[in-house]
C-alpha cells in the first residue's frame, strides 16, 4: 500500500516536471520575452539589464530550475498584456472558478449516479430508454451550445435569470462568494447547469454500464439466489461494487470540469481563471498561459492522487497490498 502511494506520488512528480518544462519552454522560447516586456523603443542597455535580471544569460537547465523554483513560490512573472503580476491575477479570479466547478461537480455526481442507477435497473423500461436517448443528445451538445440555449430560454425569453457575470458577492470565510447573495446564487444557476450537464450525462452513462456489468456478476446472482430483495441487491451490493471505477472517472471528470470551465466562463462572462486563460491565448500572453498550465497540472496530479487513495477506502482488497 505504501509502495503503491509512493509510486503514485513519483508518477505525479514526473508529470509535473514535464508540464513545468513545457511551461518553461513556452515562457523562454516562444516569442521574445524582452521584446514583449519592454516594447520596441527600449535601449540596448535596458534590454541587457532585463536579460540579466530575468536570468536569460544563465545556462538553460539553471533557468529551468529557477523557473520551477519561482513557480513553486507562486512567482509567475508579469502579464505581457497589462503588466500586472500573474499570481495576483490568478488569486483574484480563482474563487469564482472554484465555486462554479464545485457546484457543477455536485450536480453532475449526484444526478449522474441517481439517474445511472435508475436506468440500469429499469434497463428495458420506457422512461429509462427516453433518459438514455436524451443523454446521447446531451453528449452531442457542445457545452457552449447548452449555455447559449439556456441563456436564450431562461434569460432572454423568460427573463428569470441573469445571462452573464457573477452577481453580487458576499464574504464567506474570508472568500468573495456568490453563494451568500440572492443575485449571486441566481447568477450561478445557469453556468453551473451548463458546466454540470455534460459531465452528468457521462457519469450517468458510466454508472449505468458499470452497474449492468456488476448486475451480471456471480455474486449478484448469488445475492438474488439467497432471496435478498431487489432494493438490497441493487443499492447495497451492486452500487458499492460499481463505485470503484466510477470514482476514477468522477476524478477525471473534475479535471474535465476544470477544462470546460474555460468554455462556460466565456459563454457567461464569468470572471474566473478560465476566461483569463482564453484571453491570454487570444493575446498570446505567455506568462499567463504558462501559469495556468502549471496550475492545471498541479490540480490534475492531485486529483489523480486523491482518486488512487479513495480506491483503497472503497475496496478492502487494495488495502492489503
Amino acid at each position: 500500500m505504501i509502495a503503491y502511494i509512493i509510486r503514485r506520488v513519483l508518477q505525479g512528480v514526473l508529470v509535473l516536471a514535464v508540464v513545468g518544462f513545457v511551461a518553461f519552454a513556452m515562457f523562454r522560447f516562444m516569442g521574445n520575452p524582452i521584446e514583449n516586456m519592454l516594447g520596441q523603443e527600449a535601449t540596448r542597455l535596458d534590454r541587457a539589464a532585463l536579460a540579466e535580471r530575468l536570468g536569460l544569460n544563465d545556462p538553460v537547465p539553471i533557468q529551468y530550475l529557477k523557473f520551477i523554483g519561482n513557480a513553486a513560490q507562486g512567482e509567475f512573472g508579469v502579464s505581457y498584456r497589462n503588466g500586472l503580476p500573474v499570481s495576483e491575477m490568478i488569486v483574484q479570479r480563482l474563487p469564482a472558478t472554484l465555486e462554479l466547478a464545485f457546484v457543477s461537480a455536485v450536480i453532475a455526481v449526484v444526478f449522474g449516479i441517481v439517474l445511472g442507477v435508475f436506468v440500469a435497473i429499469r434497463r428495458n423500461g420506457i422512461v429509462a430508454n427516453i433518459v438514455m436517448s436524451a443523454t446521447l443528445v446531451g453528449v452531442s451538445l457542445p457545452t457552449f451550445l447548452i449555455g447559449v440555449l439556456l441563456i436564450w430560454i431562461f434569460a432572454v425569453e423568460l427573463g428569470w435569470l441573469p445571462s452573464f457575470g457573477r452577481g453580487e458577492t458576499g464574504t464567506l470565510f474570508g472568500w468573495q462568494s456568490s453563494l451568500v447573495t440572492v443575485s449571486g446564487l441566481k447568477s450561478l444557476v445557469l453556468p453551473a447547469i451548463t458546466l454540470g450537464l455534460y459531465q452528468m450525462t457521462l457519469v450517468m452513462r458510466l454508472v449505468r454500464s458499470e452497474m449492468l456489468e456488476v448486475l451480471r456478476t456471480d455474486y449478484i446472482r448469488f445475492a438474488r439466489a439467497r432471496g435478498l430483495p431487489d432494493k438490497t441487491v441493487h443499492f447495497k451490493h451492486a452500487l458499492k461494487n460499481t463505485l470503484v471505477p466510477v470514482i476514477t472517472i468522477i476524478g477525471l471528470q473534475v479535471g474535465q470540469i476544470a477544462a470546460f470551465a474555460i468554455v462556460t466562463e466565456t459563454v457567461f462572462q464569468w470572471p474566473g481563471v478560465g476566461l483569463l486563460f482564453i484571453n491570454s491565448i487570444q493575446f498570446v500572453d505567455i506568462p499567463v498561459m504558462a501559469a495556468y498550465l502549471l496550475l492545471v497540472g498541479v490540480l490534475f496530479v492531485s486529483i489523480n492522487l486523491v482518486v488512487d487513495l479513495l480506491y483503497a477506502v472503497v475496496d478492502p482488497r487494495l488495502r492489503l497490498q
Binding site: 456471480d218 446472482r221 439467497r226 432471496g227 430483495p229 451490493h237 458499492k240
Partner: protein, 352 residues
C-alpha cells in the same frame, strides 16, 4: 475422479437423522415438461426442452451431462434465476406440491434462499467482495428467519462453525478475499443453508476447487444436508461426484433428460445408449482392469442444430427410423425412466 473420503465418511457412521423419503405423496420437487427458450437473432433456442424429473425429500439427485446439456439452466429455471432473454416457455416446477415457476416478488424471494438454497460453481466470484462475510450471512438469515439483528449475528457464527471454518468468531469480520478457495466454498454452503431450506441446488460445487479440497467440500455438503433432511440437486459433469454422492441420477443430453434412475443401476447397467456411451468413456475407479476408454463418435449438437426426433440419433449406433422423426416417450426399464425408442428392445450383440 475418485473420492476416498466420501465412502469412508458414510461408513464411519454419519447416518441420516431423518430421511422422509416418502412422508407425503408429493415429491419434494417435481419438474414437469419444463421448456426454457432463448429468442436470439438466429432463431429460438431451447436449452431446456421438455425436462421432467422428481426429487424426494432428503434425497440427493445428481444431474449429469456435457457442458451445454442444459443442466445449469434447469437449475436456474427452478429458482427463477434465468437471465433475460431466457424464459420458461412451458411446463411447471412444484416444490412440495406448490407451483413455484410463476412466482414473483416476495413469494419468489421466500423460495430463493428460504426454501431452496443455492451453491454456485466458483466461490471466488459468488461472494460480494466488498462485504464482510458475517454481514452477508446475517443479512441472509434476517431475510428468511424471523429474528433480530443480534440473533442473526449468532446464527451467522453458528453457520460458520457448522461448515468447519476455524476460529469462526474472528472470521465473521473477514472479507471474502481473505479466505482460500475451499474455505470460501464452505462460506457459500453456510449461506445456502442459513435460511433453513428444504432443497439445495448445487451447481458444480467443486469444479472450481483444488482437487485436494474437492472431496472435503463435497463430504461436508452431503453430511449437512443429510443431517437436516435437505434434498439436494447436484449438478455436475463429473461421474466421480455422481458415483460417490448421489442416490439417483438424471442424465441430460441436448436440453433433454435421457435417463433417470437409481445411481448404481444407471452407472452399472444403463439403458439409454447415450448413458452407456458416457459410462464407457469414463474411467471406472471400481474396476482394477485398465479398460480401453470408448469414445462416442461425434459431438453434442449446438442449440441451433438439434436434430429432429431423438437428439442423440445421429451419434447412436442403434438408431432406428423412428428415432429420426419422433421424440421418444418415457419408458420405465428396471428402476429407471428412459427416453429412448430402442432401449427396451433386446440388445443386439455388441463388439465387446
Amino acid at each position: 475422479m475418485s473420492i476416498p473420503n466420501a465412502s469412508s465418511a458414510s461408513a464411519t457412521g454419519v447416518q441420516p437423522v431423518s430421511r422422509p423419503s416418502s412422508s407425503h405423496d408429493e415429491p419434494l420437487l417435481a419438474v414437469e415438461d419444463l421448456v426454457v427458450e432463448i429468442p436470439t437473432r438466429r432463431g429460438l433456442l431451447r436449452p431446456v426442452d421438455g425436462v421432467s424429473f422428481e426429487l424426494n425429500a432428503g434425497e440427493i439427485l445428481g444431474v449429469v451431462g456435457e457442458s451445454g446439456a442444459g443442466k445449469s439452466i434447469t437449475g436456474a429455471a427452478i429458482i427463477g434465476l434465468l437471465e433475460r432473454p431466457a424464459r420458461i416457455a412451458s411446463g411447471s416446477v412444484r416444490l412440495a406440491g406448490k407451483r413455484i415457476d410463476n412466482l414473483t416478488g416476495d413469494d419468489l424471494r421466500r423460495v430463493r434462499g428460504g426454501e431452496i438454497g443455492t451453491v454456485f460453481q466458483d466461490p471466488s466470484t459468488s461472494l460480494n467482495p466488498l462485504q464482510r462475510i458475517g454481514d452477508q450471512l446475517a443479512e441472509t438469515a434476517r431475510q428468511h428467519l424471523d429474528i433480530s439483528r443480534a440473533e442473526s449475528r449468532d446464527r451467522a457464527l453458528l453457520a460458520l462453525q457448522e461448515v468447519g471454518i476455524p476460529a469462526a468468531a474472528e472470521r465473521l469480520d473477514a472479507y471474502p478475499h481473505e479466505f482460500s478457495g475451499g474455505m470460501r466454498q464452505r462460506v457459500v454452503i453456510a449461506l445456502a443453508l442459513i435460511g433453513e431450506p428444504v432443497l439445495v441446488i448445487a451447481d458444480e460445487p467443486t469444479t472450481a476447487l483444488d482437487v485436494s479440497v474437492q472431496a472435503q467440500v463435497l463430504t461436508l455438503l452431503k453430511r449437512l444436508c443429510l443431517e437436516r433432511g435437505t434434498g439436494v440437486m447436484m449438478i455436475t459433469h463429473d461421474m466421480g461426484v455422481i458415483a460417490e454422492t448421489t442416490d439417483r441420477v438424471a442424465v441430460m443430453y441436448a436440453g433433454r433428460v435421457a435417463e433417470i434412475g437409481p445411481t448404481p443401476s444407471v452407472l452399472v447397467n444403463a439403458a439409454h445408449p447415450y448413458t452407456r456411451g458416457l459410462m464407457a468413456s469414463t474411467p471406472n475407479p471400481a474396476s482394477d482392469v485398465a479398460e480401453g476408454l470408448v469414445q462416442i463418435p461425434g459431438a453434442m449438437p449446438g442449440l441451433l442444430s438439434i436434430p429432429a426426433g431423438c437428439a442423440f440419433h445421429p451419434r447412436c449406433d442403434r438408431a432406428v427410423p423412428d428415432c429420426k422423426q419422433k421424440r421418444p416417450p418415457r419408458e420405465t426399464i428396471n428402476d429407471s425412466d428412459v427416453w429412448c425408442w430402442v432401449a427396451s428392445q433386446p440388445q443386439q450383440a455388441r463388439h465387446d
